[in-house]
């Protein structure tokens, strides 16, 4: 896409393909290119080199701006982390806990995945790395009971932040989504203003299935934000554009690696730049 080329259908098709390649999804890509055509007309743009910049601007507008801060006024601030299997929930919790600890906060973790082999061990190792406690029961225990205990513990210890890990689950498994709803009932019974944040962890390599995941998790859990993980790979995570415009769920963090510092606050500018690389 170089300056001096004529702005024609072929150019718009090229841009549409770029978006599709980034997992934006064919319908969202078509809509974006239509908005681009409108903008080009309205602003009387003649230079083809300008096209990409306008498209970046349109995408950045959709991704929003002020919704990226976590709501941490309450004490304890209760954060629940949900998502499908293997997305990066447990690792993200370790990184997030570390960020809060670095800010001088008192952090407590809850080992809400009582199902998967060595899930509790995995979170405990992260707790050790960060220097914060983990509330846990034995494997096979009722996750709602672990959550209940962790809420009592957070109150008793006057923790600033409580982060609750949950088992990975496919959004189409009704019984597992019911289990998740039960966890949320326990939370709101014990602390009517909680949870403060429900973070849906989404793997950046995921294609259009991320839309279905977001819809069903939002229905069951009231998702307040997305953590887009594994952006250190070659996938662009473009599906979050459709998720923001259709479901109004903002991306709040991105995961860019497996180490403790590899969690960054979401930047729409960085996101759109990377989208077109």
């Amino acid at each position: 896409l170089v300056s001096g080329k004529k702005i024609d259908d072929e150019l718009y098709e090229e841009l549409e393909e770029l978006l599709i390649q980034a997992d934006v999804g064919v319908n969202t890509a078509i809509e974006l290119v239509e908005d681009l055509r409108k903008a080009v007309k309205e602003r009387k743009i003649e230079d083809s080199g300008e096209l990409k910049n306008v498209l970046k601007e349109l995408v950045a507008d959709i991704m929003g701006s002020e919704e990226f801060k976590l709501k941490t006024v309450n004490k304890p601030t209760v954060i629940v982390v949900v998502g499908v299997n293997g997305a990066g929930k447990t690792t993200t919790i370790g990184k997030l806990a570390n960020n809060f600890k670095q800010d001088g906060k008192n952090v407590l973790l809850a080992a809400g995945d009582t199902f998967r082999a060595a899930a509790i061990d995995q979170l405990e190792i992260w707790g050790n790395r960060v220097g914060c406690d983990v509330i846990k029961h034995q494997e096979g225990a009722d996750p709602a009971a672990v959550v209940y205990d962790s809420l009592q513990a957070a109150k008793a210890r006057e923790s600033d932040i409580l982060i609750i890990d949950t088992a990975g689950r496919l959004h189409t498994k009704v019984n597992l989504m019911e289990e998740l709803k039960k966890i949320f009932r326990v939370i709101s019974r014990e602390m009517p203003d909680a949870p403060d944040e429900v973070l849906l962890v989404l793997d950046a390599t995921t294609g259009q299935n991320a839309i279905s995941q977001s819809k069903l998790f939002a229905q069951a859990a009231g998702v307040t934000g997305i953590v887009l993980t594994k952006l250190d790979g070659t996938a662009k995570g473009g599906v979050v554009i459709g998720i923001k415009s259709e479901l109004n769920i903002p991306v709040k963090f991105i995961g860019v690696g497996e180490q403790i510092d590899d969690l960054k606050e979401f930047s729409p500018q960085d996101f759109v730049e990377a989208l077109f690389e």
Binding site: V84, G86, A117, Q122, T205, G207, G233, E258
Partner: protein, 292 residues
């Protein structure tokens, strides 16, 4: 799904009189959108549409009373052919042990699949040995050990301070001493663009010469499936693919992309979190999922 869409498209087109090649183009656009929505890689879609169009502009379609049905049949045939037959066999070596190595991105389902494979092969009368080759992820070794305990299948480990090449070599010696005829090596998840870690896999391969290098991929993988599969295949030479988490509502177009770019058979489908949730891969089922 696509069948209804094509029917509507042709209904509108036939209303204008005899069908021609331009009308087929309109139908091809429907097919393209359906495949892209199903996460098939856009380059794979381009090649696929070319093939389908060649067959769809014949008189058989243009003069048919039900052109939509003809096109759907062509698409289905081409999809099923591209996805390959059901080849869910592990190639057992005449000189045991048969060595299987599982590779793939972070979180794809390798460790769980290692357990499932061991379970399956043991039911077929084999004596598998699981090998804890992930020395990076917190509690990865413990995870495999828990699975091994649940299955009463031995897990070989040298802890997480030993390098995976030595672990693999040690496992081979152990297998020979204890008469394990299958060795299943679980490896750490890694990015295809991580030079150092891809080289580590190369080194494990050179040390123990796996008979089967199986690429494990999440069925929800989108456009990047082509990059990922191609990189793993070029670096290691994969022998087959296992697609996991097909028990959800993902259309699974990434599977088509992987098959198209590597030419290697998709051998198994992961259909759940339990250790018996591994099925032979059925191309016709994925084809109908992709078509919606």
């Amino acid at each position: 799904g696509l069948a209804e869409k094509l029917q509507n498209t042709f209904q509108k087109l036939k209303g204008k009189g005899k069908l021609n090649e331009a009308d087929v183009d309109q139908a091809m656009r429907d097919v393209r959108v359906a495949l892209l929505e199903a996460d098939v890689n856009f380059k794979v879609v381009k090649d696929f549409i070319k093939k389908v169009k060649e067959r769809a502009v014949g008189q058989e379609v243009l003069q048919s009373l039900t052109p939509g049905q003809h096109v759907i049949k062509i698409v289905n045939d081409e999809l099923t052919e591209l996805l390959g037959g059901t080849q869910s066999k592990i190639n057992i070596s005449s000189k045991p042990p048969t060595v299987i190595m599982l590779v793939g991105l972070q979180g794809a389902g390798k460790t769980t699949t290692a357990g499932k494979l061991a379970n399956l092969l043991r039911k077929q009368g084999r004596r598998p040995l699981l090998v804890a080759g992930d020395v990076y992820r917190p509690a990865a070794i413990k995870q495999l050990q828990v699975l091994g305990d649940q299955l009463s299948i031995p897990v070989y480990t040298l802890g997480d301070k030993t390098n995976p090449v030595d672990i693999a070599k040690g496992a081979m010696e152990h297998a020979r001493s204890y008469n394990n005829d299958i060795v299943i090596i679980d490896t750490a998840g890694r990015l295809h663009i991580n030079e150092e870690l891809m080289e580590e896999l190369q080194n494990v391969k050179n040390a123990v010469h796996p008979h089967e290098i199986l690429f494990v991929m999440d069925a929800t993988t989108g456009q990047d499936a082509v990059n990922i599969a191609q990189s793993f295949h070029e670096r290691l030479g994969i022998d087959g693919v296992i697609i996991t988490k097909l028990d959800g509502d993902t259309r699974g177009g990434g599977a088509l992309s992987v098959k198209a770019v590597t030419g290697k058979p998709i051998k198994f489908a992961g259909m759940g979190e339990k250790l018996d949730a591994l099925e032979p891969f059925h191309p016709d089922r994925i084809a109908s999922r992709i078509l919606g």
